[in-house]
Symmetry: none
Subunit: 181 residues, 4 copies
DNA sequence: TATGAATGAGGCTTCATTCAT
DNA sequence: AATGAATGAAGCCTCATTCAT
């Protein structure tokens, strides 16, 4: 945010970000397991050795990426839920924010999993306010996250209308699959 | 199945199976991306060169593994749903068979995804029979599979009662999260 | 010695020897510390990866080299001393065999040190037979080895007559530096 | 010695000394060959680039270290021999000064070798005065230095009494190993 | 067909050295 | 002058793959 930094510091921050961005891209394309440090460097304008001025391993980059995600994404992930007063608003806010973040920021399953506790807490809270049925919040949170991730993946791979997907998912979790009597 | 094969054939089948078993183990432990052909061989009593008499790449082994899964697991995965006459029976059969297969056969997300089309077809069928509400079958299938996989993973990692988990999942998808009026 | 080996075995032995020979040369030229595994490979007709089929580190090569030295050199190093009946014969045999081995086999300080115990035992034995004065055998052995190594090095570097050097060293240790009365 | 220097000069001298001290330590621990410039810098409070303001290579540092040794150690190494009037005094002074310097200053083989010429000159001188038998001074110097280094090393590694070691070495070189008639 | 050693490409990491600050 | 990050060469090691046996 603040650009009033000595030049060296600014370059360091920039290079660190180059590596994080490259890693995000590489991890998304090949998966964490298949990615190599060299792949990360190659996704960067930096020289091979420079990687090790910033991180000591692929794992450390992942950790930094997760931390970054936590800082920037988790707030956005939960923001819509805060003011939800009905279950429908809650679900709708949840799914649309996941779909949006996946599209714009390459949100991944691991990042979502990091939001598990937030979501569960919000669900428990909502259940106590009577907004939700008194279900096992952990199970519901897991179901919501898994479903959102899977559907977001499908949207990304196969295209589709985000609004419509949000509506479908919301409806499913709101009323279930039981046919109207 | 049939053991009346000439010796050569039998050994060939056995070696092929060694490789598949080794690969399944290695993929499960390290993930497909991080696994190497050497890792697979090492999980086997065979020599390095022998691998290439059966497969030409890691990818080909994965394909064979998927086919094997499809042959042996998919039937078991869908068997319970065939005779379901209510949505509740359908969901219950689905979740309990996934949880059981995960526990006994190390079923993985990819295997489940292979069951996607079956499940969607069954869902569409059921919807036409009026057993389910007329929802987007693709979205529902994705939600069910993702949820089942996630919950099965949690059961495997943290322990828990399979029957209870089945009941919770079934209830969630049957009636949704809306509180009773 | 035995050449009646299947071809594969023969090649393996040969390659192992390539590496040992390369390593001996490289260690002698640059010293053990400065030598790299790559240097060793380069002193060989083999490919880089082949090194690791035989050894896992530079250190392991050194150990093998030491073992080889012990097997082939130590007997030759001590052979002359066995039948020595006077101190003069003993010393003369010792120095001439060290000078000869250094010249023909690149004997090194470490190899000599491996002969320390042999030499000390022989010295103690000789002292008990009255061939030597009753001195501290360890100190004498250390002095003899260090002197022999140093003088052999000088001979190798600066040239000189082996026989004369043997005589000088023998005389020094036989009678000491005290002037005749 | 002189501290009346402008501040800049003083700091320069200090940094140079940091490098020399670090290098001495590193060379002693890993050997010259295995040591890297980075190792030297790391043994120093200085930054990487600073090294090159003082030296251009590891080799140059070694040269400086040798020069330093020559200046400070060689005088002490030969001081005892100056007033020796008998061979016994000469030898005793030589060995005890080597053992002492090794213990307190980490004297190394290379440093000793730097004392070779001094020692040979002293030996020749002494031989002309009739204190020593008329032996090849070069060979005797080599023998004395090699023995002293080896025994000093043993003392350092295995402990032992310096005075006793001095006596043993002196006796050996004074009278040789020949048994009394 | 099975074996396992050889190969050299390529990944990981550290190094010497430079140079903007 | 001191700093310390950037660079890319080069060392270490493992890998996929081939091929003689």
């Amino acid at each position: 945010m603040d650009n009033f930094l000595p030049k060296r510091q600014r370059i360091k921050q920039q290079n660190r970000q180059f590596i994080l961005d490259g890693a995000r891209k590489v991890f998304a394309e090949q998966g964490y397991g298949a990615a190599t440090v060299r792949d990360i460097i190659r996704a960067t304008p930096l020289a091979a050795g420079t990687f090790y001025n910033y991180f000591t391993s692929k794992e450390e980059v992942r950790a930094a990426l997760n931390a970054e995600m936590a800082d920037t994404l988790r707030p956005r992930l939960s923001e819509g839920r805060a003011q939800a007063v009905t279950a429908e608003e809650f679900l709708s806010a949840f799914f649309s924010s996941v779909f949006a973040l996946k599209a714009e920021a390459g949100l991944e399953a691991a990042d979502l999993r990091a939001g598990f506790e937030d979501l569960r807490a919000d669900l428990e809270n909502a259940a106590q306010r009577g907004v939700f049925a008194p279900l096992d919040a952990g199970a519901v949170a897991a179901a919501l996250l898994a479903t959102a991730d899977e559907m977001a993946g499908r949207l990304a791979r196969e295209g589709g209308d985000t609004a419509q997907a949000t509506a479908a998912a919301t409806s499913l979790f709101l009323r279930g699959v039981q046919p109207p009597l």
